[in-house]
Symmetry: C2
């Protein structure tokens, strides 16, 4: 076998191990009985170790070196580039650091859960400090020559993104959203829905909606879990989960549409590139652009609720559903404390706060014990609210406890990319909103397939974005969308 | 690390790999979307290869040799004995034969499914012949010095069982069941139930029954699948599946009780011996004794239906359920064609037929093309019926297509063991039947825990059976149970 055959055979093996791991994880979050927790932990740790051993084996580096010295076709070149970056990162980290991080994350997660339960940041602080120290070490080990230590962390989630690119965009976005919030300040809010609907009916609705959107149920599923997520277990197997609240149909439905957006991206990745590693998402931000596009741009629009109202009526025939009321209720904009409950506009402020705090910790300006005060100060300044307790403040998210520094920006990168994709699509598909209203989503999904999904990870996400959006300004696209959607509802217009 | 630590660390790793594989398999049979079939095949094959490599590695043999030369405690001695047998078997098979068998089984399964669908044995014959040839090769490679080549195959399912032991027992059992069937010949059969009950209600009933029996739902689950099965994914994680038919509540319930019996055995295995390999079932026959004991001895008794009738009434309050009618319907004895639909008595005749045919093929007296005629002849002689088509005859079971020669006897071994356990238990627990009627199954399960489950695989199943049953005759115990249960229903008594 030559180096290319060896490489692709190994990558196929790694994909199979990753898919097996992902299956165990999906099961753990959906159906696994509680007493299986320790057993499952052992199984997952073993599969991850086997993955790591096979990925970082010296022969993998040898195959890459041999291929780099050869004439390659375009696919081979893209694959070698991708694996070289990952391989170098993986072998750069001393195994002592990898295992220290793994222990710190496990302990951090448990300490965070207990601290949140007790509403007491101090219980989390020492473990968080340990994670911070190790994360800085990790960034130093990986980020040789990088302009900012945070860049090395971003590489894990959004290869190609840098602080130098993101900071000015996030700063502008914060200022513009601030202007918009100032304009609606004191205006009457749309009415909340105030509707109780049984969760069995909501589950049927979600199954229907996911199919209508174009998620292939022969190659995937939708189940329930405490925290909604999407996971690709391999070609032909994409699992979505969601959750339902009896008093908030829009919340569960929003989660469902969001995860379906992720899932349709996974299903649209180029299966013919299996074994090259290129049949994977190009980054978390691009992934998030797919979920946000469907959840927000489509899923909070008036045409969407015109599509949805008769489907609601079919499940609850004794109720009346007005598209206009649903639309208004789905677009209340408020300064609130909790990221995962935030509206389409203020959501990004939550990310801007976290991005700033993560930069400051990586730069060494903040230690774990400084975070609660820094959090409250940033929330006061950026979001305009202060949490009455750590639980609703600095302890609200799991990410830091699991060592996921560098992950948060993906959410707003997703919103930005989605905004420009949407504008481009409106130009390419003039009938866009009437298609949504009719529930004919195939042309829209088709556009995403061609322009995003089928590219896999042949290029970095930023380059895929530029190929599609040309020189569009995603900050401007997002801000103008927010003004135009909420303008009529709040009776304001951009000056 | 010394040899014992190395051995147990490796066994723990093997258990984790086996548990991961079993999770993938469970998922495949319950929730996996259809398009994932190829992906899942690749994942499972990889995990099995990793298992095999790690189990048959030379160091595993070295650790065993070192331990065999040492002073060991009882647990260590039992573990070394168990792994030595398995290891020697595994390394005795040339890897070319292992992979040829694996291919032949995959192809055999597909050919069998197509042949059954088309009701045409010829489509299956060449693949079955290939499996037969390789199985004979396997038996020859493993069975050096064995009294019968079939003994080497039995070892995979019922370590310690031999043709010399089984043949006379099965022969006697066949004769005795024949006498019993002769006695009820021409007597009026109890009425069938003729009841339609919605499957959602049946599913609730099964969940209730499984909990009542003592299956721990914190460490397990009950789901639905096309073919009921039980699988242990590791400590604290035992999964049962069952199926329901609207027009046959007793069939689905029987499957549920049967699988719960398997599942309670798995849950009762000694978790403190994890890592030694001794926390596993001592054999398929013993496993089957647990499912058959609950399904038949308990689950077809009149006291059981007295327990059950009010639970049925709670789910379908508009219906009336008579314990006597349920009991009678559950105990109709008929000469029929299909093993999995057979009653408690004739079931064993189906096994006796297969046992005879398997012995003849292993002895070289029968080739694949001879099996349809030999099957019909044996059914006419042993069961008293002849299949109108291959689908209801020689093609009815999946086992041979998957190379599972040696497996069938386990079912009747299970019935035999269960019969003697039951008689022993009646002596030890005089209130047995009133406990069943009250739904107080804990003392019964407790007896099985102590006498069977907690022994794990410290001894061979036959030795565990003898420890418990002393010099009881399981054939006599089973036959006298059949007469006593059906005597009153059919108005006959043993002469």
């Amino acid at each position: 076998m030559d180096a290319w055959q060896n490489l692709t055979a190994r990558v196929a093996e790694l994909d199979a191990l990753a898919g097996a791991s992902a299956t165990l994880d999906w099961d753990q979050q959906t159906y696994m009985p509680p007493k299986a927790a320790d057993t499952r932990g052992t199984q997952t740790a073993l599969l991850q170790r086997l993955y790591h051993e096979r990925f970082t084996a010296p022969e993998f580096g040898d195959w890459l070196s041999e291929l780099e010295s050869r004439e390659l076709d375009g696919t081979q070149r893209a694959a070698v580039r991708l694996h070289r970056r990952r391989y170098d990162r993986a072998v750069k980290l001393p195994s002592s650091l990898v295992s220290a991080l793994s222990i710190a994350r496990t302990e951090g997660f448990h300490a965070w859960a207990a601290a949140k339960e007790a509403d007491d940041f101090n219980r989390f602080a020492p473990k968080l400090q340990r994670i911070l120290d190790l994360t800085r070490e990790q960034a130093a080990a990986l980020g040789e020559g990088a302009a900012h230590p945070y860049d090395a962390l971003l590489e894990d989630y959004d290869p190609g993104s840098t602080v130098a690119d993101l900071r000015p965009m996030f700063d502008r976005l914060g200022v513009e959203i601030g202007k918009f919030l100032g304009a609606i300040e004191g205006r009457p809010h749309p009415e909340p829905l105030g509707l109780r609907l049984d969760v069995e009916g909501q589950a049927r609705l979600s199954q229907r909606v996911v199919r209508d959107l174009g998620f292939d149920m022969e190659g995937g599923r939708l189940d329930r879990s405490a925290h909604p997520f999407t996971t690709g277990l391999g070609v032909g197997d994409v699992r979505l989960t969601t959750r339902y609240f009896e008093d908030d149909v829009l919340s569960g439905l929003g989660s469902t549409i969001h995860e379906a957006g992720h899932g349709m991206y996974e299903q649209g990745l180029p299966a013919n590139l299996a074994g090259t590693g290129l049949n994977q998402a190009a980054g978390m931000g691009l992934h998030e652009s797919q979920s946000r596009f469907w959840e927000n741009f489509v899923g909070r629009s008036l045409p969407w609720f015109r599509y949805l109202a008769p489907r609601l009526g079919a499940i609850w025939p004794e109720r009346e559903f007005s598209p206009e009321r649903l639309y208004a209720a789905a677009n209340r904009v408020q300064r609130t404390l909790v990221r995962v409950e935030a509206d389409e506009a203020t959501y990004n402020l939550h990310i801007i706060v976290r991005f700033g705090l993560e930069l400051a910790t990586l730069e060494g300006q903040l230690q774990a014990v400084d975070l609660p005060a820094a959090w409250d100060e940033a929330y006061r300044r950026v979001v305009g609210v202060v949490a009455p307790s750590a639980r609703l403040g600095v302890l609200q998210d799991v990410h830091w406890s699991s060592g996921l520094f560098g992950y948060f920006p993906s959410y707003t990168i997703g919103n930005l990319y989605a905004a420009s994709f949407a504008q481009k699509m409106l130009a390419d598909i003039p009938a866009f909103w009437s298609l949504v209203e009719r529930g004919d989503f195939a042309p829209i999904l088709g556009w995403l397939r061609t322009h995003v999904h089928e590219k896999g990870s042949r290029s970095d996400a930023v380059d895929i974005f530029r190929e599609v959006a040309g020189n569009r300004d995603p900050v401007e696209d997002l801000v103008s969308h927010l003004w135009s959607r909420h303008g009529a509802l709040y009776g304001v217009s951009r000056s």
